[in-house]
Amino acid sequence: MVTFESHSQPGVSTLPAARVRRIIKEDKDIFACGADSIFLVSRATEYFIDSLVREGYEFARFDKRKTVQYKDMAKAVQSIEQYDFLSDIIPPTVTLKKTSAAADKDSNE
């Protein structure tokens, strides 16, 4: 659910257009991008941050925490199909027990 609307003015994006354009143009396959498109991408990104943050927050809240942490984001990414593209950026967290068990196993070999 998109709920983000508090501070933003409808015709203006908070994200700097020039920066967004440069990020887009990093893709060498892209020949040109109109100014309107830059605006739309900026706007969509704002909604994206909003959704992602709120999803992460739900997990933190469920854990009765006041700080949204990495693991909340990891769970959010795992639980929503559209966020599959983020699975490399936010790999699911492995618990400390598993990592130290794995480390022990490695050192014993």
């Binding site: 659910m1 998109v2 983000f4 609307e5 508090s6 501070h7 003015q9 409808p10 015709g11 203006v12 908070t14 994200l15 700097p16 920066r19 967004v20 440069r22 990020i23 887009i24 990093e26 893709d27 396959d29 892209i30 020949f31 040109a32 991008c33 109109g34 309107d36 498109s37 605006f39 739309l40 991408v41 706007r43 969509a44 990104t45 704002e46 909604y47 994206f48 941050i49 909003d50 992602l52 943050v53 709120r54 992460g56 927050y57 933190a60 006041k66 700080t67 949204v68 942490q69 990495y70 909340d72 984001m73 199909e81 559209q82 593209f85 983020l86 950026i89 936010i90």
Partner: protein
Amino acid sequence: MSDFEGGPANDDELSLPRATVYKLIGEMLPSDITCAKDTRDLLIDCCNEFIHLIASESNEICEKEAKKTIAAEHVLQALKELGFEKYVGEVQEAYEEHRVQQSKDRGRKSSKMKNHGMSEEELLRSQELLFAQARMRFQQQQQPAAGADAAGQ
């Protein structure tokens, strides 16, 4: 200074300005909730990835239409294709507002000096008049006593 940077490994890597994104995150969460710093940096990376995703999909749609420049419709279509249709309505609304804003700005900039309806001589005369008025004001400021006397009468 923590060891975990959380940001782009390469200084040349482009990303959204930290302060701007931090501020957005703060506004999106309830006032008593915070976001861990490394998580905020992570969100910046997610945004960059999202931008690349949308841009790439938009470009594919653009190419299919044998166009060279990504247009607004391509972006909107890309959002739908990628499963972000829930954003489309709001983004479209914002786009309309944006276009209204742009045409207002254009109108304002061009009409400022175009619609005065004066000829060049008239413009010169009005400029002289403004200078004369400014000169008078300046002289009055230089002689406050004389001015006060005049006002007293």
